[in-house]
């Protein structure tokens, strides 16, 4: 691990004032400490933000506000989350391991780095880690890589399950910078790789994620998260789906659909949503709607299974949702 100066800012203002290029905020540490050991991340200053007052869940006025330093396991266990947004609780439950869920913060979860093996291995080139050095994944091992949103520079997937569920729910992130606070749709927060895969999100230098805001969506009580992976537990998604459906009798009147493991960022599928709305909630409808999900997918050598897996994951998620009717 490279050496760094360790600082404990006392307030959000202080944290943001001290932050800048070369610094890193430390919350749960499950990404940062890991990547500092691998020397994939080499900050010269680490700002421990764990004592900042960015905790708590708030449901006053409808919707849900989650402090960025809330831990994954605590949010997953909160009865208000489980009741109003099952998709969020399930996405958190299916993430990582018990120890890591206890440690990792919500803000850190959204900012965790890709699991691409080349990104994590400093002996290989990687455009995300070292801009302009090349992408060995595109012509190399790419079984777990993205089929949506990839460029000639990068095909790394975004690893967060929580972010997939939040994108389906139209969540926003609240950011605090030196010039003040702003709110950004999580969907727009993540950037496509293009020629600049090292730029992953719309976060200005020194800006801090302070809160996640989930709008009120009463019919999200019928929502679910399905995750498909190589192991049954403690593994990242090859494919995942976050779905919510509002029914009027047997007819779907509103739907929210997003997938993980497929895209270079959490991927909202509005075409699938449109294909569901106005139709009867049957397996035929789900299969036909899921078929629209694969439009625009561009498989690489080892991940040609992914579009089909995405369709099946979506159909399974929609069928599982019927059980909660």
């Amino acid at each position: 691990m490279r050496s760094y100066a360790f600082e404990r800012p006392g307030t959000v203002t202080d944290a943001v004032r001290r932050a800048g290029s070369g610094s890193a905020f430390l919350a749960g540490g499950t990404t940062l400490v890991d990547l500092m050991k691998l020397e994939v991340m080499t900050p010269d200053r680490v700002l421990d933000i764990n004592r900042l007052p960015l905790r708590g869940l708030d449901t006053t006025g409808g919707g849900l506000r989650i402090g960025a330093l809330e831990r994954m396991s605590d949010v997953a266990a909160d009865p208000r989350v489980r009741r109003a947004y099952p998709v969020l609780g399930q996405a958190l439950d299916l993430s990582a391991s018990g120890q890591l869920r206890t440690m990792a913060s919500i803000g850190g979860n959204l900012l965790q780095r890709t699991r691409c093996g080349y990104f994590r291995d400093v002996s290989t080139p990687c455009n995300k880690r070292l801009p302009g050095s090349g992408c060995p994944a595109i012509g190399g091992e790419n079984r777990t890589h993205a089929v949506l949103g990839a460029s000639g520079s990068c095909a790394a997937t975004h690893p967060s399950d929580l972010a997939v569920a939040l994108v389906a729910l139209d969540a926003k992130v609240r950011l605090q910078g030196r010039e003040g606070a702003r709110t950004v749709d999580l969907r727009d927060f993540y950037l496509l790789p293009g020629d600049t895969p090292h730029l992953e999100h719309d976060l200005r230098p020194g800006e801090l994620v302070t809160e996640v805001v989930v709008p009120a969506l009463p019919w999200a009580r019928r929502s679910t998260y399905v995750k498909i992976r190589d192991r049954r537990s403690f593994e990242f998604a090859l494919s995942s789906a976050a779905v919510a459906v509002r029914l009027d009798g047997d007819t779907i009147v509103e739907a929210r659909v997003a997938v993980g493991g497929m895209g270079t960022r959490p991927w909202r599928l509005t075409a699938v949503e449109r294909a569901l709305v106005g139709r009867r909630a049957t397996e035929e409808t789900y299969v036909a709607a899921a078929a629209t999900a694969v439009e625009g997918t561009r498989p690489l050598r080892h991940n040609a299974y992914k579009p089909e897996l995405m369709k099946r994951t979506l159909v399974r998620a929609l069928l599982e949702l019927e059980q909660t009717r």
Binding site: M1, R2, S3, Y4, A5, F6, L26, G29, T30, V33, D34, M36, K37, V46, D48, N50, A96, S97, G98, Q99, L100, T102, M103, R232, S233, F234
Partner: protein, 193 residues
């Protein structure tokens, strides 16, 4: 843990380990010596009920601190990347992997390691249950398994076999003693009620 004339395996290895650490290893990793000094951090915390103050490089993990500075070698270093769970301890009653926990973040914290779980000479119900149910073969992962299981039971998340398996998936056992581990947690769950 057979005793021979007052010398335990843990005690002997602990002494050797401490001596070696003092003689050669700068805490924080092999490449630390050549790098610029960026200031040590002092942390006051409670470890297994005893107040402790440590001053260390900010890169030092809780894992290295308990093993090499405090001589508590029950906590094991497996992968050192948060993937195996062998280093699981409790911080303020919550289970964490100590390899990804920086000591510098723990000022004011209360830490419990496997050495702090027993009640004096009386083993914790989980320690007895792992013996009763053959919940180990080589034993390397066992301290982490037991610390993790203690938190899982305390949180009430050991209600079914499936729930135990899911909650314990962050603790790898390469001898694959999983059936015994599951049986041990079931046994201790009943006794800890």
């Amino acid at each position: 843990m057979t005793q021979h004339e007052g010398i335990t395996r843990r005690g002997l290895l602990g002494m050797v380990g401490t001596a070696a650490a003092a003689a050669t290893v700068p805490l924080g990793g092999g490449s630390a010596a050549a790098q610029p000094d960026t200031g040590e951090v002092t942390v006051r915390m409670t470890v297994n009920g005893t107040a402790t103050s440590l001053t260390a490089d900010p890169r030092v993990t809780l894992l290295d601190a308990v093993r090499e500075r405090l001589g508590l070698t029950g906590t094991k270093k497996g992968c050192d990347r948060g993937q195996c769970g062998a280093c699981t301890v409790h911080v303020d009653g919550r289970r964490v992997v100590s390899c990804l926990t920086l000591l510098a973040t723990l000022d004011g914290a209360s830490v419990t390691t496997i050495e702090g779980l027993a009640d004096g000479d009386r083993p914790h119900p989980l320690q007895r249950a792992f013996v009763d149910q053959d919940g180990l073969q080589c034993g390397f992962c066992t301290p982490g398994q037991i610390m993790s299981a203690a938190a899982v039971i305390a949180e009430g998340r050991a209600r079914t076999d499936d729930e135990i398996r899911e909650q314990m998936s962050g603790n790898i056992c390469r001898c694959s003693a999983y059936p015994g581990i599951l049986a041990a947690i079931r046994q201790a769950r009943t006794e800890m009620r």
